[in-house]
Symmetry: none
């Protein structure tokens, strides 16, 4: 094990805007965060452009950038993160999709893009979709795994496939499911588009009469009667964090995307009890597990989603409340972390202001604390405090900086 | 001559960490530096990432970056800087190595990687190694020049050579000298590896019975009985500073690496009396010579090594003392520089904190002063003061910024 250890905590969509509250404070400013403020006193703040100034981040690209990978060069598309995150094994050459269970009528017009955020029956749906076979390409294997609610992942395995295909999801209720078309003029893209259209129709045939869906219809709930794949991707070959830094590490998250990112970067996934990826998650258990994991690992990455969810829901009260729950969960960390040999980085992967309800490119506050971090005079953790932070402003690369404080970096040159 | 002139002073490994001293100050904070503080009052501070946040710099790559060259694209390896620095002429196609005189036993097991940091006899050793001829490649010319202590440089000149070969130096006492192997599957790499292995063995044959070494053995000193080449490089073709800015310039340094960098970037080398590249160097003479050179040149680069040496030695007292000696040497500059038409940049090429004893990726303070620099309110020069610096934080490119203040830059676009 290394002399110094590192912990990265990302509160998804943490950042906000002065429009968050009537008095012109961001949710993070308005929330009571004594433990984050204590960490700010001990350490140093900066302003993080998750990818670059004026680049509006997705959660996947922002995470890659924060981990020190250039998303403009290394982003494979989202599908593979979801596929690995739900527990599918992927191989080089596979094409991966994230999927939604949706509700369509007999003309394939979308009635609900998330099948009413279906809460149960995922196992039955998953079972029904095993062994799909593209009629046009019997040499291609189809793997499917359901995740939480309407979410899942689909993997196509076989020769001559391409991620360059369009999306089936019309992203709007009342519109017909799109015919998937090749996005480049290659036999691989044409073949893959045909396979996806085929899988899509087969999924409707298999799902529409499923007892689960008949029951849902009887209850007036939208049936999960079609699988809409999106975010096609290849399988990237990242230099993993263990390869890069010679460390062992753990990812603690609930969302498949974040689990998948962690696993593809070489971290071991550990599930915290009560971690849901929603506003009802058990943050305390995540932090407790992180502290435990750090006893036998060099690095722990904790991902907390609720801040982003509240932002997407445009719910300032929920966002502030969730930030305060995160802060409370940090108490055992502030008090119990081995501060003589651990560096902590705390930040968001982007801002999700409640008025806009989606990701924006504004920089987010970032905090480093630990023995090798030169403290700055800032004594609070929020966007306005970070404007006076001693680390000034930088783009992505939080994990390489954490690795620097931990003396994990190889020298470039001599 | 230009209307405005520029001086760059790099104190190698200047930056530190709060772990440098028991009271949580860096060496630079703890040292008494009235002249640097006076320059801080007159000018503006920033935080410099020598290469990029979370990149751990070597001295060679950091200097390239500070001079405005992208080390990821333009770093040729270290050898050529050392070769040029010791005074060897290099041509395109040459393969250059830095070398150590080391001590091995008859089985090529390393007993001392630096032959006891041999202090004299370099001329005799150099003479003995003239005219080496690779048996496997009689068309290849071998040039060698000794530098200070155990250091030297080796150049291979001839057709079909490659820098893609492994290192002979096992970097550990008690281990056998490594067989040099090709690092890529090309005839050039295979041929070069064979030549280096051959030179290495020849050096042992030539050196082992040298009178100098017999005397050293008689005195109980480790003989300098083998030449270990490392840091293979090609000869780069940089756009020089005179080409880029239309200026004349001087490099004042003692270490071969820094002399070599300066020369390859088009600066004329001038030796300051008493400049040793160590903690015993005469900083006063370097600054005095720089002031003199600036009367007839547009640009002077002064490199001072002792700060890095003290950092590598993990000696906080030595580092603070040496920083104070640099500060004293700046008195004539603060008082005597033509401040109406000169801009000064003062910084380190990286941090070498005394607790870690090696380079780290932490940003270092940088100072600009002169008539075109907008002063900030900071009145001291150290890491913590730079957290409040008006120049915020930036990566490399100190010389282009100095050129900017000096109105030397060509317009990009119209």
């Amino acid at each position: 094990m290394k002399e110094f250890k590192g912990m990265l905590i990302i509160a998804d969509g943490l950042g906000g805007r002065p429009t968050d509250t009537p008095e012109g404070k961001t949710c993070l400013e308005a929330a009571r965060t004594p433990h984050l403020d204590e960490l700010a006193r001990r350490g140093a703040l900066g302003l993080l452009d998750p990818i670059a100034p004026g680049v509006r981040p997705g959660s996947d690209t922002a995470h890659l950038s924060i981990f020190g990978y250039d998303p403009f060069r290394e982003y494979p598309g989202r599908g593979v993160f979801e596929a690995v995150g739900v527990g599918l094994e992927v191989h080089e050459g596979d094409i991966c999709f994230r999927t939604n269970f949706a509700t369509v009528d007999e003309n394939f017009v979308v009635r609900d893009r998330r099948a009413g955020r279906i809460h149960e029956g995922q196992e039955e749906l998953e079972r029904a979709l095993q062994g799909l076979k593209p009629r046009s390409a019997p040499d291609v294997e189809v793997l499917f795994k359901a995740s939480t609610e309407h979410r899942g992942a689909l993997v196509l395995r076989g020769p001559d496939l391409s991620p360059s295909v369009s999306e089936a999801d019309p992203h709007e209720v009342g519109r017909r499911v799109h015919e998937v078309v090749p996005l480049e003029d290659t036999p691989q893209a044409r073949r893959t588009a045909q396979i996806v259209n085929d899988i899509l129709k087969q999924s409707y045939e298999v799902l529409k009469d499923l007892p689960l869906n008949k029951e849902r219809e009887a209850k007036g709930l939208p049936p999960a009667n079609i699988l809409l794949p999106r975010g096609p991707s290849t399988v990237p070959r990242f230099e993993t964090l263990p390869q890069r830094y010679g460390i062992t590490g753990t990812v603690i998250a609930a969302g498949a995307l974040y689990i998948g990112i962690g696993k593809l970067l070489g971290l071991e996934f550990q599930r915290a009890e009560g971690a849901t990826g929603g506003l009802d998650t058990n943050v305390n258990n995540k932090i407790a597990l992180a502290l435990e994991e750090l006893r036998r690992k060099d690095f722990v990455f904790v991902h907390i989603k609720g801040t982003d969810t509240a932002g997407h829901d445009r719910n300032a009260q929920a966002k502030m409340g969730f930030i305060e729950r995160i802060d409370e969960a940090l108490k055992p960390l502030v008090e119990g972390l081995d501060w003589e040999r651990t560096h902590l980085a705390f930040t968001g992967d982007h801002a999700t202001p409640v008025q806009y309800g989606d990701h924006v490119s504004d920089p987010v506050p970032v905090l480093f604390a630990g023995p090798n971090v030169l403290p700055d005079p800032v004594e609070a953790f929020h966007e306005r405090a970070a404007q006076r932070g001693g680390l000034h402003r930088f783009a992505g690369r939080v994990v390489p900086m954490l690795a620097g404080y931990n003396n994990w970096l190889q020298k470039f040159g001599t």
